[in-house]
Symmetry: C2
């Protein structure tokens, strides 16, 4: 019901699916500087604390005095040694090696091993304290140990705060496929505190920016804010965290397990991003999402799904976030990776979620050769 | 709210928790020889087909023409080579080694590997065709691959038909702990066909009998049937399959994730069964459940939770199912294993679900030394 494929656009009626940001947004309980955003999913209600003081307040309300098992990575453990000592001194702290390449089953089972040794039980609160990798693999471990322990996410990167810590997707990469083994498991609490963003390197900021720009291509309010911004500095981006969280929460509430055709809107730009990431690696996920958003916007324009004026506005936002577009030789062969995307269930076609108009998106489906041809033309500057 | 611990029995009021079988039973849609039993859980509705023709009917309705990935074990693949060829000839068939010792992460990842190679996707139907191990590890793989594929269980053992295939618990054993890593994942369909029971060795029949006797200690109707039976032959036990399924379905519907204090009633006899199984191994799970049910009935009697007449009736049923009670030297030290049970979350006490009266059970909680002392006395014939 929610789907609108390219074929539809070419036939009578041109059915499409549009949502205004207002309709998708979860209600917020606004405080002075901190917001609590509730997520009511079928499996478990959750709450996201956003803003200054989120960490302390969440800690006091949910973690103090509980049996905790903290998963963090080597970078975060070093940067926040004092905080860990102060708040998690009496907890089991499991430090996994940092980096996307460690989001694998070896890391997962090392966490499970330590949970067994620590005699964790179902009421233990697993605290995933770190970026996207810690959140994904730590959340996964929490979902599996004794078929599920309690889970609190404390995301320390911009990407994790605006995107990956919210919504309950957990996973590891396996056999070269991103997130191919995982679970849906909602955290009971997510603490998005801007204090953790101050130590981020530039690359990490850009990484988060990728998901923010993607959200702008789905949500009118965030689009307007990014359009009107003079710079994309950290202070500015911090303010977008609760807006992105509310947008995502609204989507996840309506389609927790990506079965109703709605949640996949969050994959805008991601089919191409994942295809390139698999082939070229090295750059951050967020950069690939920026590239993917630009490529898929151009495809939407060429397919007649998106008007030129709006496409150009999206592209302008992307180019401000990523002034120098990387080069991708052999991009045609990278296109095949898109077939491995989870959305393309058993089809020989490539599904893309693309921008349509301000606050609206569409889903289009292209034969692989057409998609590959588009990528080559865009890379060659012909589109 | 549902819990009634031993302490309660000793204090004023003696709160206890009792359910009649009628209240817990899922509604059945009766056909001529086959029943369809619906399970409405929060996560996913499911349906269990019980009786002659269950396999063919379920196959026609759900599996024919679909993209299938079949998980089975070496025994089942040998015994049902013709059936597999006929019905699953065009499907990917993944044969895992038979036996409880293979319910581990190696087998799990070998299935996931083959799913990747077969390019399975979210709409692929994973068919777990075999006994409890195939169901548990196959169901687990289905829950994890792309965060969940479709799942149909075709249980081929009495144990799997009356118990493990229904209710959505999946798991592997890990680091010496039973089912410590797993998920809740409801199959959309379970096909319990008596045709598969005809090839079972005696040991497997007794294994299923363990869970049937346990259910009798919870459900008045099944208790009456077992009490009145003259022999426990396969034809007789087959008729109990839909009754046991309906009872379990009723429990699972009300407490899918074992969080409401109800589903753990299904662990009657299991705390002691698992403790002994960990120490002594070799015998079948069902035999340990029979032993556990006998031991825990005697404990309930000694604690004053269960009346002598009813306890003796339960013990009589157990002894007809297991005429020769095995011996357990050093049973006192085996008692410690009970602390590892998932029910005993972070407590130094042992929780037991014990028979109370016909169709009623109680939960009691004992300090470890008391529990160990009971086991020793019972083993020594003093209780």
């Amino acid at each position: 019901m929610f789907r609108a494929r390219a074929e539809d656009f070419r036939t009578a009626g041109r059915r499409s699916y549009a949502r205004s940001a207002g309709a998708l947004r979860a209600p917020a309980v606004r405080g002075k500087s901190m917001q609590k955003i509730r997520i009511h999913t079928k499996s478990r209600p959750g709450i996201v604390y956003c803003g200054e003081g989120a960490f302390e307040q969440g800690y006091e309300e949910t973690l103090a005095g509980k049996e905790l098992f903290v998963v963090t990575d080597s970078n975060v453990a070093r940067l926040y040694a004092d905080l860990i000592e102060k708040y998690f001194g009496s907890a089991h702290v499991c430090v996994v090696p940092a980096g996307e390449k460690n989001k694998n089953h070896k890391t997962l089972f090392s966490i499970l091993d330590e949970m067994v040794r620590a005699r964790c039980h179902r009421k233990t609160v697993l605290v995933a304290f770190g970026g996207g990798v810690v959140g994904d693999v730590g959340g996964f471990a929490a979902s599996l140990y004794m078929r599920g322990t309690r889970l609190v996410q404390i995301p320390t990167t911009l990407l994790a705060q605006v995107d990956s810590s919210v919504g309950g997707k957990t996973a590891i990469d396996y056999r070269g496929y991103k997130n191919i083994v995982g679970s849906f498991y909602q955290p009971e609490q997510v603490l998005c505190d801007p204090r953790f963003l101050t130590t981020l390197p530039k690359r990490e900021i850009r990484c988060g920016l990728g998901e923010i720009v993607k959200t702008a291509a789905l949500d009118a309010e965030i689009f307007d804010i990014l359009q009107g911004a003079t710079d994309f500095g950290l202070r500015f981006l911090e303010k977008l965290v609760p807006l992105c969280v509310r947008f995502k929460a609204g989507v996840v509430e309506r389609d927790e397990r990506e079965t109703a055709g709605l949640r996949q809107c969050l994959n805008l730009g991601h089919t191409t991003a994942h295809a390139l990431e698999l082939d070229y690696g090295r750059r951050s996920h967020g950069e690939y999402v920026l590239v993917g958003t630009a490529f898929e916007t151009k495809i939407a324009l060429a397919e007649g799904v998106c008007k030129r004026e709006y496409a150009e506005r999206i592209l302008k936002i992307v180019s401000r976030a990523l002034p120098k577009m990387p080069r991708f030789p052999d991009i045609g062969s990278a296109a095949e990776n898109a077939l491995l995307d989870k959305k393309n269930s058993g089809q020989e076609k490539i599904s893309l979620v693309v921008p349509k108009a301000r606050g609206e998106y569409a889903e289009i489906s292209l034969p692989l050769p057409t998609y590959a041809e588009y990528l080559k033309k865009i890379e060659g500057g012909l589109l």
